[in-house]
């Protein structure tokens, strides 16, 4: 396969933002969250809506979203492969910009995941509706729990359980440092974790992400335009995407995520290695998702995540800063969380994170310079990996 390197600093993220309020926001619709986030991200960039000529979203159609925002894009991309989509949109935006199809790309997401007044039914013609739904194999907690059980069988239940607790507790500690996090003022101990109720065994409640109302947006543009934006550019050095199934029962291996391909590909395109990375942001739909992702990305081998995350290594003060916003587990998760990985990675690389600011590995006097972002979507179905950097 031809590899496209973005090593040349040609494409930059210049604007990021969330919607105005996150958590339980019953007075706002999904499209309102899109619009607020888009407004805030363009303001962050110092660009106007009239300059946007590429629109990227998932879940909602770009048709509906563009109309609502009052945008008539010359490039439209509705790639929708689950919550990873927005990380993939960054790669697609970079490709479209390099090909000359657009030069200001707006990626938006909004979802009233908690307060929506009408849920979208599943298409009864699809295999999921025909073969899984009648058995109650419905929704991420059930699907991901089944995958986790297999991991426990293959690699040991007790050490898997310990790793899940380590991740839940460490991520909460990061949320306790992020004023925007839903769980900002709610600490959680190991005892709290182990004594919490079951959602779908082997998942306790804190193994599962939040369900919130929120939106976020990201603006991508050329190096030339980035130079005139308000904040310093965050370079897109490399990216990759992939998927290997849709419904959970068709997953080739319940203990191996397609990040095994997208991680190495994105890093090769960026010309970086694991040791170069200061900050890792991965989609934590569930504690188990984090374990599979770290293994897939190659930070450790299959079955080794429990050793890798032991002793609160990923918590504030640990030597592997992970999901520093508080993640989907403790910061926000409206339904398709991937875009929020980008928001936090950009904030960290800009040095805007206050008490939770991550430092450069080789020179702790400087802020983080290189971030690895991995979104996972569907039923552990798709991943999008991106490598981001600042000068």
């Amino acid at each position: 396969m031809a590899t496209t390197s973005f090593r040349q600093r040609e494409i930059a993220i210049v604007g990021i933002a969330e919607s105005d309020e996150m958590g339980t926001v019953p007075n706002k619709s999904s499209l309102q969250h899109h619009a607020e986030a888009a407004h805030n991200a363009l303001e962050d960039a110092g660009l106007s809506k009239r300059e946007v000529n590429g629109l990227f979203t998932a879940g909602f159609s770009t048709l509906a979203t563009a109309e609502y925002l009052g945008i008539q894009p010359g490039f439209t991309d509705n790639t929708s492969v689950g919550g990873s989509s927005f990380v993939i949109h960054v790669a697609h935006a970079a490709a479209a910009i390099r090909a000359g199809y657009c030069d200001v790309a707006l990626i938006t997401h909004g979802q009233a995941g908690r307060s929506t007044r009408a849920r979208v039914p599943t298409d009864p013609n699809l295999p999921q509706a025909q073969y899984e739904a009648p058995y109650g194999l419905i929704g991420p907690p059930v699907n991901y729990a089944m995958a986790c059980t297999r991991y426990m069988h293959d690699y040991g239940e007790d050490r898997t359980r310990q790793a899940m607790a380590e991740i839940a507790v460490a991520t909460r500690k990061w949320a306790n440092l992020n004023p925007k996090a839903v769980m900002y003022k709610t600490p959680m101990s190991f005892d709290d974790y182990h004594s919490s109720r079951w959602v779908a065994w082997p998942f306790h409640l804190p193994d599962c992400c939040l369900v919130t109302d929120s939106g976020a947006a990201v603006v991508v543009t050329t190096a030339e335009r980035a130079a005139a934006c308000r904040k310093k550019p965050v370079w897109v050095l490399g990216a990759a995407e992939g998927h290997d199934h849709n419904i959970i029962s068709m997953m080739p291996s319940l203990t191996s995520l397609i990040a095994r391909e997208t991680g190495p590909r994105a890093m090769a395109r960026a010309g970086v290695t694991h040791n170069d990375i200061d900050l890792t942001m991965v989609y934590d739909s569930f504690t188990y998702t984090v374990m599979l992702t770290l293994e897939g990305l190659g930070f450790c081998g299959p079955g080794e995540a429990p050793d890798f995350v032991a002793n609160q290594r990923t918590a504030p003060g640990g030597d592997f800063p992970l999901n520093t916003s508080g993640g989907g587990l403790s910061y926000t998760h409206p339904g398709m969380y991937g875009i929020f990985l980008l928001v936090e990675a950009v904030r960290q690389l800009r040095g805007e994170c206050g008490d939770r600011q991550v430092k450069h590995k080789r020179d702790p006097g400087q802020n983080a310079k290189l971030a690895l972002v991995n979104g996972t979507g569907g039923s552990l179905s798709s991943t999008g990996t991106a490598v981001l950097a600042v000068d």
Binding site: G59, G139, P140, R150, W198, W201, S249, G335
Partner: protein, 151 residues
């Protein structure tokens, strides 16, 4: 992840709705007809000799069109499971706790199902345990293949 399913959603009727039966598709009419007769039939590729689920006319592995149907022994092993405590849809509110499962049939095909005839307790269920098919009639046209510990 797509739209999250939330249990016992606000605004739903007080009465628990029934579980929607599957809508057979052109490729699966035969599968559901056989299920109705309490037989489990799988697709088989004559070119690469793989037995696969779910039913597709063209082999998802080697992409051959030379496929037929074979009757499954209905025996296999439990590939994995989860014990569902929080109903993922209102129709399952009075079903919890139940065992969501993936079974690997003799011949290698994996299919989603429920494990029944066993306590919904992780100490009673083990990946790899031998299971056998049992049919549960949903209505006069649809019978769901489920699995129980092998006798």
């Amino acid at each position: 992840m797509t739209q999250p399913s939330r249990s016992a959603s606000s605004g739903q009727a007080q009465q628990t709705p029934s579980i929607p039966p599957p809508v057979p598709q052109p490729e699966s009419d035969f599968y559901w007809e056989k299920c109705k007769a309490h037989e489990l039939w799988l697709r088989h590729c004559k070119a690469c000799n793989k037995t696969y689920f779910y039913p597709r006319d063209i082999c998802p592995d080697c992409f051959s069109r030379d496929t037929d149907w074979v009757k499954s022994s209905g025996r296999g092993s439990l590939h994995t499971f989860a014990i569902v405590h929080r109903a993922p849809a209102p129709a399952f509110a009075n079903k919890v706790p139940y065992v969501a499962a993936i079974v690997e049939l003799e011949g290698g095909a994996r299919m989603p199902t429920n494990l029944v005839g066993v306590e919904p307790d992780p100490s009673a269920i083990k990946c790899g345990m031998a299971v056998e098919v049992v049919f549960e009639d949903m209505n006069e046209n649809i019978s769901l293949p489920k699995f129980r510990p092998a006798s």
